[in-house]
C-alpha cells in the first residue's frame, strides 16, 4: 500500500537517526550536549512511534509499531543513507544532524498541509521539536566551523564526507509520487532549492566551504543500504528476533 510505504519513507529516517543518537548517550563531550542529543533522540523516537502506529492501523492484521520496527529486514527499510551513517566523531554526528534537520523541517512544514489528517497532525506536533533540533545542530556547526583550527578542519571533513548523501533526500519513490498526486505526500523535489540555500547560508556563517560535488549516493529509499545498516538493525532487533512474540 502506497500510503504505508510513504510513511515508512519518513518514519524510518526518524528511527534510524534516533538509534544512532542513542549510541552516544553517556559519551558526550559535556553533560549539556549529552542531554541535548538524548533529547533529540527521544523526540525522533516519539515521532517514529506516531507514524508507525498509524502505519500499523492502516496495515491491519497483527501489525504494531514494534513489528514494523523490529521485524522488517534491511531491504525493507526505506530510510535515506544519510541517517545510518556512523558517529565517527562529534563533527559527523552534528553534520549528519544538521543536514537531516534542515531537510526534515522543510518536509514537515509542507506535510502539515497534507490532506491526510493524521499525517498533518503528526507533522504539526513534530515541527516544534524539529525547529529545536535545527537550531541546536546549526549552532554547533557554527561553533565548530568558526571555533578552533582543529574543530574547523573536523567540521569541514564531516560536511565533505556527508555531502554525497544529500541528493538522495530529494529523490522520489513510486510511493512518493502516488501520494503527491493524491495531495497527501510532499513533493520533495520542490524542497531542494530552499534546502541548499539554507544550509549554504549557515555553512558560510560557520566559515566552511560548500562542497563541490557532482556524484551522489542513493539507494536507501529503495532499501539498498550501506554496510552499516545490517549492524545497526542487528542491535536494534536483537531482542525481538531472539525472543519472538513476547510482551516486554
Amino acid at each position: 500500500m502506497n500510503l504505508v510505504q510513504y510513511i515508512y519513507g519518513i518514519a524510518d529516517n526518524a528511527l534510524i537517526l534516533g538509534q544512532r543518537l542513542g549510541e552516544l548517550c553517556g559519551h558526550g563531550p559535556n553533560l549539556e550536549v549529552d542531554i541535548a542529543m538524548t533529547n533529540i533522540a527521544l523526540d525522533l523516537l516519539g515521532q517514529t512511534r506516531s507514524y508507525y502506529q498509524y502505519a500499523a492501523q492502516l496495515s491491519g492484521g497483527d501489525a504494531t509499531e514494534d513489528t514494523i520496527a523490529f521485524l522488517r529486514n534491511e531491504r525493507e527499510y526505506k530510510s535515506v543513507l544519510l541517517v545510518e551513517q556512523p558517529n565517527t566523531d562529534f563533527a559527523y554526528s552534528i553534520g549528519r544532524q544538521f543536514l537531516y534537520d534542515a531537510f526534515h523541517l522543510l518536509l514537515l512544514q509542507e506535510l502539515q498541509h497534507s490532506k491526510d489528517e493524521t499525517l498533518a497532525a503528526i507533522a504539526k506536533k513534530s515541527i516544534k521539536e524539529v525547529s529545536y533540533h535545527h537550531r541546536f545542530s546549526s549552532d554547533w556547526v557554527k561553533r565548530l566551523g568558526d571555533g578552533t583550527e582543529e574543530s574547523h578542519q573536523r567540521m569541514q571533513t564531516a560536511i565533505n564526507d556527508l555531502w554525497t548523501f544529500t541528493d538522495e533526500l530529494f529523490h522520489q519513490t513510486d510511493a512518493d509520487k502516488s501520494m503527491v498526486s493524491e495531495g497527501i505526500g510532499v513533493d520533495v523535489t520542490t524542497l531542494k532549492a530552499a534546502f541548499f540555500s539554507k544550509i549554504t547560508q549557515i555553512l558560510e556563517e560557520a566559515t566552511l566551504q560548500v562542497p563541490d560535488m557532482k556524484y551522489f549516493q542513493k539507494g536507501g529509499k529503495h532499501g539498498i543500504h550501506s554496510e552499516h545498516m545490517g549492524y545497526l538493525l542487528a542491535d536494534l532487533q536483537y531482542m525481538q528476533r531472539t525472543y519472538p512474540d513476547m510482551n516486554w
Partner: protein, 312 residues
Amino acid sequence: MSELELEAEFERKIANDQKIEPKDWMPEKYRKTHIRQISQHAHSEIVGMLPEGNWITRAPSLRRKVALLAKVQDEAGHGLYLYSACETLGISREQLYDQLHSGEAKYSSIFNYPTVTWADMGAIGWLVDGAAIINQVPLTATSYGPYARAMVRVCKEESFHQRQGFEIMMTLANGTPEQKAMAQDALNRWWWPSLMMLGPTDAESVHTEQSMKWKLKRKTNDELRQQFVDQTVPQADLIGLTIPDPDLRWNEETKRYDFGEMDWDEFWQVVKGHGPCNKVRMDARRNAWSKGEWVRDAAMAYAEKQEQLETA
C-alpha cells in the same frame, strides 16, 4: 563575630532545622564533607548512565526504548543539579571531573556491575533506584539548602524510575518461562550489590557519626538496609520471584525480615576499584572527556570571538 561565635550560630541553625546557605559561614569540615558527598552523588548519576545506556540500542520495544532514554536523560539532569549544588561550595565542575577521572573521588559501587540482559534494566530500576530512594529521601531534609532542594526534585524522578523498573520486572515475571528466568537471574545478580549500596555496617562506617550530627544522615546504614529489605521482599513475593538469600526469614518478634550476611570481601574489592566494570566505566568517562576536549575548546573559542564582535 569570632570563630567561636560563628560556630555557635552555625550549631544553633542546625539544631533548629534551619538551612545552611552558600554565603553562610560553615566549618571547613562541613564544607569538605558536603563537597565529598554531593560530588560522589553527582558522579554516581553520570557513571550510572553507562550501565543503562548499554541497553538503549537493544531495548525490546519502542515504548521501552523511549522510557529508557528518558530515564538516562533524567540521570544526566540529576548530575547537572548536583554539580551545581556542589559548585555553591566553592569548587568548579572541572575540578570535580578531575577528581572523578583521577580516581580521587568515588561513585556508587553498584555501577561497577555489568548489565548483561534486558532484565537488568528492570532490576536496576526496582532495586538500585529503590535503594537510592531510601538513601536519598532523608536528604530532602538535610541541613545544606542547595543539596536539600536538589534532592526534592531528584527523589520525585527516582520514584518514577523505580516504579518503571518494577513494572519491567513484573512484565517479565508474568511472561514466558524464558522471560521469568531472565528476571530471576537479574534479581539474583543485583540483590546483594543493591544491599551493599547502603554502605558498610555501622561498626565500619567512618562518616556516620558526623553526618548524623549535620543531618546529612538520619538513620544508620544498617537501619536503612533493614528498611530496604522489609520493603522489597513483599514486592518480590508479589511477582513470584525469589530473593537469593537462604537465610532470609520473617521474624515474628521484631516484625522485620532477618537476612543473611553480605560478602564484605566483594564489597571492599569493588569499592577499592577492582569490581567487574570499574575499569570499563572509568575508561568510558575519561574517553568521553578527552575525546570531547576539542569540542569544548571550539565552543570556548567561538564564544570569545562572538564576544569580541559584540564589543567591537
